[in-house]
């Protein structure tokens, strides 16, 4: 397929761009941050997302959604990133939906309507350590009664405490380090034995440490196949990764545009600092990095939408490149803004914080570069 957006996609981008800039600009983010919001996002905005059809963008049409692909979800995420709009979109509408699409009808019927209505939030409970290592999952699900009993701990469950349901990856067979023997469960937030401790993150999102102390779930809580959870988990993670990459294209581009604007207006030594070649060259280099990131993310999205065999490889490259480029953008952004870039009042620092979280989410650039090397045969 062509590596350009088609007319429909351009229209969606214009709609999303207008919507985010109007309803959820950086001032919106600041408002919820400054009030110390326990969720870290606005439920009202989540409802508005639903009214626009955004929340169900990846839900199949047969299930009442828009039935679109990663390119379209990425278009929304880029605008979300550009405006630092806080929402459960990435976890719920992208990652969770990617997993639930593979679940049976009863499961889909239970969760899709709430997502479509902007009423349901879903947390992704994968991580067990401070770094992304999905294959090392040790959380145990023992057979018990009609279903399973879950024991273990999870962390970095973004918006976990605001969620109605958590997608929990646990081991039904095998040992930590094996991809076989994992199973995904839809666990009710209020299940007995499940407790959470929340922690506000550097970007003001709220993440949860989750304790599973013999949490009993029915057999119908399984998403996909028992012991065969890696297939579902991979799809969910890749959707989350390419989504986070798209959001980072937005964060990086937002920071870059803000910085270029500053270079054209800030005066020192009686001239606009954008006249200095030392800054011009760094600006041009940054632009090249962001353009590259935008390209590899689009490539990964289209391969995922095609169901191409190489999609996984490109998702790894895209998450790594978007992470590196976005990180460069926010670092150059703060440096080129000088003193004002260090102030809380100015927005560039908020982009730096968001970049940090998104880089870590679903595996950082080093994790994905390593994965790329392994997949490439070395």
């Amino acid at each position: 397929m062509a590596m350009t957006l088609n007319d429909d996609q351009n229209m969606l981008r214009d709609t999303a761009r207008d919507f985010m800039a109007r309803e959820a600009p950086v001032t919106h983010f600041r408002k919820f941050r400054d009030m110390g919001c326990k969720d870290g996002f606005s439920h009202g905005l989540w409802k508005q997302f639903a009214e626009m059809g955004f929340t169900g963008i990846l839900i199949p049409e047969a299930d009442g959604g828009m039935g679109m692909g990663q390119i379209e979800a990425g278009i929304l995420l880029e605008e979300i990133g550009r405006n630092l709009s806080p929402s459960p979109f990435l976890t719920t509408s992208v990652a969770a939906v990617a997993a639930l699409k593979l679940a049976d009808k009863a499961m889909r019927d239970r969760w899709f309507p709430g997502i479509l209505a902007g009423e349901t939030v879903i947390g992704i409970a994968i991580e067990e350590g401070v770094k992304h290592r999905p294959e090392k999952i040790a959380c145990v699900a023992e057979r018990s009664g009609n279903g399973f009993k879950l024991t273990g701990q999870k962390q970095f469950v973004v918006q976990g405490a605001s969620s109605d349901m958590l997608i929990v990856a646990a081991r039904t067979a095998g040992a930590a380090g094996e991809t076989d023997g994992l199973t995904l469960f839809a666990v009710d937030k209020d299940a007995a034995g499940l407790s959470m401790e929340t922690a506000r993150l550097v970007d003001s999102a709220v993440a949860a440490h989750v304790k599973l102390d013999g949490v009993q779930v029915d057999a119908d809580a399984v998403i996909g196949d028992v012991d065969g959870g890696w297939a579902v988990l991979s799809k969910m993670l890749d959707a989350g990764r390419v989504g986070a990459a798209a959001e980072m294209v937005g964060v990086g581009t937002g920071a870059m545009d803000m910085t270029f604007e500053y270079l054209k207006t800030r005066k020192q030594f009686d001239r606009v600092i954008g006249e200095f070649q030392a800054l011009q060259h760094r600006a041009a280099h940054l632009y090249g990095e962001m353009e590259g990131a935008r390209s590899i993310v689009l490539k990964a999205q289209s391969l995922m939408d095609e169901g191409h065999a190489k999609a996984e490889l490109y998702v790894a490259a895209a998450k790594a490149k978007a992470g590196l480029a976005c990180n460069l953008s926010v670092r150059e952004g703060v440096q080129m803004h000088g003193g004002i870039g260090m102030t809380d009042e100015y927005d560039i620092g908020l982009y730096m914080k968001r970049d940090r979280s998104l880089n870590e989410f679903f595996g950082d650039a080093y994790y994905h570069a390593d994965r790329l090397a392994t997949m490439s045969g070395y």
Binding site: A2, M3, T4, F260, L263, K264, R271, V272, G274, E275, Q277, L279, Q280, H281, A283, A284, H285, Y287, G288, E291, G292, A293, R294, S295, I296, L298, K299, L313, Y314, A317, A320, K321, L324, A365, Y366, H368, A369, D370, L372, A373, S376, G377, Y378
Partner: protein, 391 residues
């Protein structure tokens, strides 16, 4: 089957039947490449045969119009032909600055007679061209060039210019038959005082001197002009408007060099180096990060071409691609040297094919200098795309 599928099948069949087996293994080095021209000595019967068959079919320049020696293929058909050639491992039948650079310039700025005459010669591999742009005092600041053509009105022998001056970094000037050359024809106007002239390297007063490079090879020359007579009709475009032609051509050169990020594909070079990389975790990590950039550059190039075709790309965007692509290629060769270790240092041995890794590595250092340095590319991107202020 669509028309393109039919074309693909036909192209495949033609290649299978006409491309000799020896022309389906990679060229070992420069000396294995067919450049054509008056003095070219074919390395093998297969090389000669492959060129002749492609010339007859128009496949040395498949996308040029048939009237000028091409096959008149559409961009899609050309892409398919290249894909099929790549699948079979077919070598390019003919390499030439005429194909890559002069041809496209003639197509845009040349007269009908020039197109038929010069493009036809290029397509048939009869004339080997070199490019006279840079001068000792005019590198990145190309427009400062001084080589001067004095106008002589001569009702008897024909109006002409008498050219004096010196060019440098003229690729293969010592082997070329003709030169396309920027010559100042008006000293009072910097940009609109340059003309784009074509002349025979055997014209009295033309001499060349090869420059030995750090790679040990001498692909470039100094070229001297001492009262060289160039007839008036051997000009491309209008008098004093040669800079327009040159700029257009530089755009082509940048596109070409930006495509040099490596093997033209997305295959990692890491897999073949697994034995070394598995013992060198930091080097492996560098290789992994390089592969991220390599896949990124391929996707970037694909997106750029798609946007270019639909007219959505910024006119200065090829400068960005040139910068990114050449820097990437330098990085690749640094890694190849590191992975190769002490063996990659061997300069002449047979097992290293005459020090090919070391020589290639050194050659790539010129990528970010020739055709506009990385620094000039960044200037252009910053000013024209990002619209940064200042001169």
């Amino acid at each position: 089957m669509s028309d393109l599928d039919i074309f693909r099948a036909e192209a495949r069949a033609w290649l299978e039947e006409n491309c000799p087996a020896e022309m389906r293994i990679p060229a070992k080095g420069d000396e294995d490449v067919c450049w054509g021209g008056r003095n070219f000595v074919f390395q093998s019967e297969a090389q000669k045969l492959w060129l002749e068959r492609c010339v007859a079919k128009g496949y040395t320049v498949p996308d040029w119009p048939k009237a000028y020696g091409g096959a008149g293929l559409s961009p899609q058909e050309t892409k398919i032909l290249r894909q099929e050639m790549a699948k079979l491992g077919c070598r390019a039948p003919l390499n030439s600055f005429g194909i890559w650079m002069l041809g496209p310039a003639l197509l845009k700025f040349g007269t009908e007679e020039q197109k038929i005459h010069y493009m036809g010669q290029i397509a048939r591999g009869e004339i080997r061209w070199c490019q006279g742009y840079s001068e000792p005092g005019a590198g990145s600041d190309l427009v400062s060039m001084q080589t001067f053509g004095e106008e002589v009105i001569d009702p008897v022998g024909g109006d002409h210019w008498v050219v004096n001056g010196q060019k440098i970094w003229t690729s293969y000037a010592d082997k070329a038959d003709w030169i396309f050359c920027l010559v100042r024809t008006d000293k009072t106007n910097k940009y609109q005082g340059i003309s784009f002239l074509l002349f025979d390297m055997q014209t009295p007063g033309v001499s060349t001197k090869p420059i030995k490079l750090i790679s040990g090879n001498s692909p470039f020359c100094e070229t001297f002009f001492d009262n060289v007579v160039v007839p008036k009709h051997q000009i491309v475009g209008e008098i004093n408007r040669g800079w327009d032609v040159a700029k257009y051509l530089l755009g082509h050169e940048r596109e070409m060099i930006s495509g040099m990020g490596g093997d033209g594909g997305v295959t990692s070079i890491g897999a073949a180096m697994k034995a070394t990389l598995s013992q060198e975790p930091v080097l492996r990590a560098q290789m992994a990060l390089f592969d991220v950039d390599n896949l990124t550059f391929r996707a970037h190039g694909e997106r750029f071409m798609d946007e270019w075709k639909t007219g959505k790309a910024h006119p200065a965007y090829s400068n960005l691609m040139k910068y990114v692509g050449t820097e990437l290629n330098k990085k690749r060769n640094e890694l190849v040297m590191s992975i190769g270790g002490s063996q990659a240092l061997e300069w002449e041995s047979e097992r290293t094919n005459g020090g090919s890794k070391a020589r290639n590595w050194l050659r790539t250092k010129a990528n970010s200098i020739e055709g506009g340095t990385s620094e000039v590319m960044l200037n252009v991107v910053s000013k024209r795309i990002l619209e940064m202020p200042g001169a």
